[in-house]
Structures are given as C-alpha cells and as structure tokens.
C-alpha cells in the first residue's frame, strides 16, 4: 500500500531545541541545502511510521514573522506558499510567554498547528507548573510536552501529528483581537488588491500596520497605495499596539494555566552566569575556555596529521594499483593533479570534525551566547558586535572553519562584512611561511617581525571593516540584541549529527571547487613542460612581474605566491623547487638574491593576499555568490598590493637600498 505523505513544518524561536527535535526525528535521513537564492540553510528530512511518511522541513529559528530578516521571510513564505499539512511550533516551556508570541502569528496563518512544549526539565527547575489540559483547551490546539534532549516526547509528537492529519479538519486561521486597531485593519482589508500572492487579507493588513516592506511593495505594485497610506497614517506606535494586543492575548491564556512560585528560584544557569558573564572575570574565563578549545583543536589536528597523511598516501597507492590500466598521462593527471586537490580537501577533515564538535558543544550548552556578551565591547573596535568574535578568533588557526562560523550572525550584512575581512587574519600555515622568512632575514628579531605582521593584519581587518561598512554595505553598526538561553547538557547524538552535516556540506559544496581549482593550477604548473620554470604558471608569473616590481618581487617569489593559492605552505616548496635548493642552501640563496625590504614586503603580501583555494571555496559555499567571491579575491589582492607597496617604499628609504 502506498504510504501517505504528511508535510510537516517545524517552527519556533532560536534556542528552543528545534534542531534537536529535527535531528532526533530524521537522523541521517535528512538533507541540507540552501533556500533558493538565499544563504540560509534549508534542512529537510523524513520520518516513517506505519502508513505515513512525515516530510519534515526545519524552518529557520525566528522570534516573529515580519520581513526584516531573511529567516523570517523564509519561515512565513514556507507556511503561506508551500502549505504544509501541519505546523509544529516548538516552544521553550520555561519562557512560555515570549515563545507564544510566534505561535500567535502562526495561528493567524495556519489552522493545523501543534504546540510542542520543550525543556520541561528547565520548567521544573524554575518550579513553574503548567496545566497542559487547560492550555490545550484555551488555545484550541494540541499540546505535546517534551524534553527533546533526553528523547522524551518525540514519539508522542509523531502520534499527534498523524492524529491531527487524520482528523483533517480545515478550520479558518485564528483571529486575535487587536482592540482599537480592528477598525483600521478592516478598512485596510477593504482597500487591498484582489490577488494577495497567497497571503490572507487580514494578515496583509496587520503586516502593513507593522511597516512590513515586502507586503507594502507588492501592494504598491497592484493598487494605488495612497488610500492605505492615509489609513495607516503617521502613527508610530501601531507596531507596539499590535505587539501589546498579542501579549495581552497570551497573558489571558497563561493567567490560569501557568503557575509561578512567589519568589523566583535561583537556577543553575543563574549561578553559572555569575562567573561566565561577570564584568571582570567573564572575559578572562572566556579566553581560557576558547583558548583551550583552540589549543586542543590544533594539537589534535597536528597529532592526527601524520597518520592521516600516511593513510591518504596508502589510499593513493591503492587507487593507483586499481587504475593501473590507464594510459600514463591520464594517471599522471589523476594522481598528481586531481589527487592534490582531493588530498587538500581530505586534510581538512580532521580539523573540521574536531572544530565543529567543540562549536556544537559551545552552542548546545548555551555558552556561545555568553562569549558574544563578554566580547561585545571589545568587538566594537572593529565595528562588529560580540557574535563576530568566535569566527575571527578561529580564523587564526584556519580561515575555513572561521568563515563557516560566520553564519551564526543574524544580519546578512554583518555576515558579508565578516566574510570579507576574515581572510586578512593570518592562519597557521601563513605564519609558518613568514616565520621561515623571518628566521632567514631577521634572525635576531624574528618574533618581533612576526608580531609586526600580526599587527598589520589586525589593522587590515580594522581598516577594511570601516571601508566595507561605509562604502559597500552602507549600513551603520548593528548593536547586540541576543537571547541568553539557559544552560543545558548537550545531547551527543545531536552533536554527532551536527558535525556530520557540517562535514558533508563542506565536502560537497566546497569540495568540488577545491578539486577543480587545484586541477587547473596543476595543469598550468605542468604544461607545456613539467619543469615549473617553463610552465604556463611561470609564463603567467613573468607576464605579471612588471606589475609587482614596485613591491620588489622577482619572478621566483611571484611563483611562490601563485602556488601559495593552492595551499599557503606550498609557497616554500615552490621556492625550493625553482631555486633547486633546500635547507641551509635555500637560506643562503635567498639571502644573496633578495634584499631585506623585499623580504619584508613579501611577508606582508603573503599575509594579506588572496586566501587559499579552500578558503575561496568556503566563501563561495557560504555566500553562494560568485560576485562576492570575486570581490573578496580582488579586494584582498588590491589591499595587499597597496600595503606592501607602501611598506616596501618606506623600507627602501630607511635602508638606502
């Protein structure tokens, strides 16, 4: 018998355990992509029970359904346009009043709604009591209590979904009484165009009163907007009045269903927050925790590097044996050209697994929000708020996880800004290349030289932040507004699935770009002759050399920079190939061929110029826009060029070169 499909949408505020519910329901039978044309993740999955297939879509976590953030637009458009059979609103039972605000708006849009009350453990810690039966009656929709992190209530939710689907009654969406505003709402409704793109007229009227740009624009396209504009008038308090009506409706529901103790209980979260958000200790505590995570991540990654490389070598020779019948030139292309890209991709696997495990841990326990709180003041210097701290800090290890973390910020423009300035942060490989140069050319002052490079990169982040915000994004600084969720114990299954999703997304979406770009670079470096000095790459280097003369570079250095695009550490091996020397010999040759100002200018350029292939691929994956990738590459090149040029010119005057 054919199974019946039930289209289910999961919606809810951020931090209510929505993704936990989604992950527990769908497990590995889920699929992550982006919403068409958007940079927001779209997660879908299925759950099969008896004769039913639940097709579940995890909507982005939102507090409301206005049009000011991509997430909210996506969530409401899904409910309106893709018409799920059932909308499940997941709410944090321990802050029900605020969580029901979203429910109210969804009730105005959809008639088949189930409320899942999650985190009952936190509710009992606060000594709150909910009368579920009465709540169900007053709301007129099914209520399912649950503790998702412990797997409790999931089964009941599924049963309820099927039950509601079977009943199949299609009543009209709920009406919330907006008091004095009802008259205006009715009048606006009468003036609306016939075709409302699937929205209901009451919803459109309410959104117009809230100043919703999307709804306003499509009304303007279809009718003379003047009359509606008159009706709305210049009152600035309508949005507040609407919000107040909704909260009053909620208060009326909760008045005899939610019982609170007379004196608030001091919770485990309150005690932890005394230290974690302490005005003086909070920041050092966060540095210690993050520093520890940073240290463990890169130590583990280094420990795993050798065995992992051996394994990859083994894999390579195994595949070579398997494909022995291929003609030589093809074998060469596959195992040097393509394999190089594949192995770059694969070397990121341990790093991404370890890093995202910790990130998931920080996020799931609730500590991540505290990091944003304590670093907020500091991040103002860069024109960003506290949520930008983690991506930037992680980039000091590697830009790839740094840029993958940018999506924890809410504002699209903040994300773009951060993605563009993030590559200026020198990752470990870049510092290694610079450290080698510093030890050759400035043996006594190597650490000072490295410090100066860190300062230059910090200034690059700072200045670019100002330039990009002012001239490109044209927005002002967006201040921190963020919920601090209660602390909770993480669920290992959810952490595992999170890491797996991140890894899969990286391999799939960044992977193809990395392999493609490195294959092209391999071809350019090996044709027409596999002597790199006579390759296309060298010709390209020589062609652009006059452009880089003002920075003091010779073509060997330039070639090093070009191959550094594949992986930053490749710069050094290229130099040793073209100079046909390594170790002490390479040092001596470099000392005789390159002046001090050139060496320093090279180091500066190397720190700032285009990030590596993997980073470019990650920027593409995150922004989903070729335009932004191209801009990022060109911007960093131009920026690196100017800074190096200025520094080189100054140094030449100082050194009378």
């Amino acid at each position: 018998m054919e199974k019946k499909k039930i289209k289910v949408a999961l919606s809810g505020n951020p931090n209510v355990g929505k993704s936990t519910v989604f992950n527990l329901l769908t497990g590995l039978r889920q699929h992550t992509g982006n919403w068409p044309g958007k940079t927001v993740e779209r997660k879908e999955g299925i759950y099969i029970k008896d004769d039913y297939i639940l097709e579940i879509t995890d909507l982005p976590g939102t507090y409301s359904l206005t049009s000011r953030s991509l997430e909210e637009i996506i969530a409401r458009d899904f409910i309106i346009k893709e018409k799920p059979d059932i909308v499940v609103v997941i709410a944090d039972a321990s802050s029900l009043e605020r969580n029901l605000y979203l429910l109210v708006q969804i009730l105005e849009l959809h008639s088949q709604v189930i409320l899942a009350l999650n985190m009952l453990d936190l509710l009992s810690e606060k000594k709150y009591k909910i009368n579920f039966k009465k709540l169900e009656e007053k709301l007129g929709i099914p209520v399912v209590p649950m503790i998702a992190s412990k797997g409790m209530g999931i089964e009941e939710l599924v049963n309820k979904i099927i039950e509601v689907f079977k009943e199949g009654q299609k009543s009209l969406p709920r009406k919330i009484d907006y008091g004095d505003l009802e008259e205006i709402i009715e009048k606006i409704e009468k003036n609306l165009p016939e075709n409302l793109n699937g929205y209901n007229s009451r919803f459109v009227a309410i959104k117009l009163l809230e100043g919703d740009e999307i709804v306003k624009n499509f009304c303007k396209e279809k009718i003379n907007y003047y009359e509606i504009k008159e009706l709305i008038g210049k009152r600035e308090d309508t949005a507040i009045l609407l919000a107040n009506s909704r909260y009053n409706w909620i208060k009326n529901i909760l008045i005899d269903t939610l019982e609170k103790p007379r004196t608030p209980v001091i919770t485990f979260s309150d005690r932890l927050d005394y230290w974690f958000t302490h005005p003086i200790f909070g920041l050092p505590v966060s540095f210690i925790i993050l520093g520890l995570i940073f240290w463990i991540t890169y130590t583990l990654n280094n420990l795993l590097a050798d065995p992992w490389e051996n394994f990859l070598g083994f894999l390579q020779s195994f595949l070579k044996g398997l494909l022995f019948f291929l003609p030589n030139f093809l074998k060469e292309f596959i195992f040097s050209g393509i394999w190089e890209g594949v192995s770059i991709l694969l070397t990121f696997i341990p790093l991404i697994i370890i890093f995202f495990f910790f990130l998931a841990l920080l996020e799931d326990t609730g500590y991540l929000a505290r990091v944003a709180f304590v670093t907020d003041r500091m991040m103002h210097i860069l024109g960003l708020h506290g949520k930008a701290f983690l991506p930037l800090m992680m980039s000091y290890g590697c830009n790839v996880p740094g840029i993958m973390t940018v999506r924890t910020l809410e504002e699209e423009k903040d994300r773009k800004l951060l993605t563009l300035i993030d590559p200026f942060i020198p990752c470990v490989p870049r510092i290694l290349v610079s450290a080698f140069f510093a030890s050759v050319f400035f043996p006594k002052y190597a650490s000072l030289v490295l410090l100066s490079l860190y300062i230059i990169s910090f200034l690059a982040v700072f200045i670019s932040g100002k330039i990009i915000r002012r001239f490109l994004l044209k927005t002002s600084f967006s201040p921190l507004i963020m919920e601090l969720p209660l602390y909770k114990f993480p669920n290992l299954k959810v952490l595992g699935l999170y890491v797996w999703e991140k890894l899969k997304a990286f391999l799939q979406r960044a992977g193809t770009v990395i392999v493609f770009l490195s294959a092209i670079l391999w071809i350019l470096g090996n044709f027409p002759s596999n002597n790199i000095e006579k390759s296309f790459l060298a010709s390209i280097g020589k062609f652009f050399l006059p452009l880089l003369k003002p920075l003091g570079f010779n073509w060997q250095l330039l070639l090093g920079l070009i191959t550094g695009f594949v992986a930053k550490e490749a710069s050094l091996s290229t130099l040793s190939t073209v100079y046909q020397a390594s170790g002490e010999n390479l040092k001596n040759i470099l000392l005789s061929e390159i002046t001090l100002p050139t060496a320093y200018s090279f180091m500066v350029f190397q720190i700032l110029y285009i990030p590596c292939v993997a980073t470019v691929a990650t920027i593409y994956k995150e922004t989903n826009s070729k335009k932004w990738v191209l801009f990022s590459v060109i911007y960093s090149l131009v920026f690196a060029y100017f800074v190096s040029f200025i520094i080189y010119s100054l140094l030449r005057i100082i050194f009378h070169d």
Binding site: R68, E97, Y101, A239, N244, T263, P279, H380, P479
Partner: protein, 80 residues
C-alpha cells in the same frame, strides 16, 4: 524613579516606560518581549552590554540600546 536602563543597578526592577529608536528596532525588541509596561530586571552590567530579564528570558542588549530605554524603577527594598 525614572532611570535609563543602562544606568540601573544590578538587581533593580522596574517597568519599561519608553523605547527610543527606529521602527525596526522597536519591533525587534517587542518581539523579544520588551514593550512599554513590561516588567524588566537588570541582571548583569558590564563595560559594554547589559543583561536584562523580561518575560522569563535573559537578554543581552548592546550599550547603544540600553541607553535608549527608559524604565520606571520600583522604589523601596529589592525583592529576592
């Protein structure tokens, strides 16, 4: 007594009087529960943002926002 939210003391409680700012910000704060008349407690202060409790939720608000919210602070002994 009327105070700017940013200048309230830790543990002080009051009712939101008014919020200054553009429509977008006012709506965003409303969605998180900060509307005039709502009870608000200052939980934590720092050199930058503050933490407040509104409708059973702790919220971090940047300084720029906390300086634009007026609160009618309860007089007398602090509760709890």
């Amino acid at each position: 007594m009327v105070k700017i939210l940013y200048e309230m003391n830790k543990g002080e409680k009051g009712k939101v009087l008014s919020i200054k700012g553009g429509g977008g910000r006012i709506l965003r704060l409303a969605e998180l529960g900060i509307v005039p008349g709502e009870e608000i407690i200052l939980i934590q202060k720092s050199f930058g943002p503050v933490i407040v409790r509104v409708k059973d939720t702790n919220l971090a608000l940047g300084r720029g926002i906390a300086q634009n919210i007026l609160v009618e602070v309860e007089n007398g002994e602090k509760e709890n």
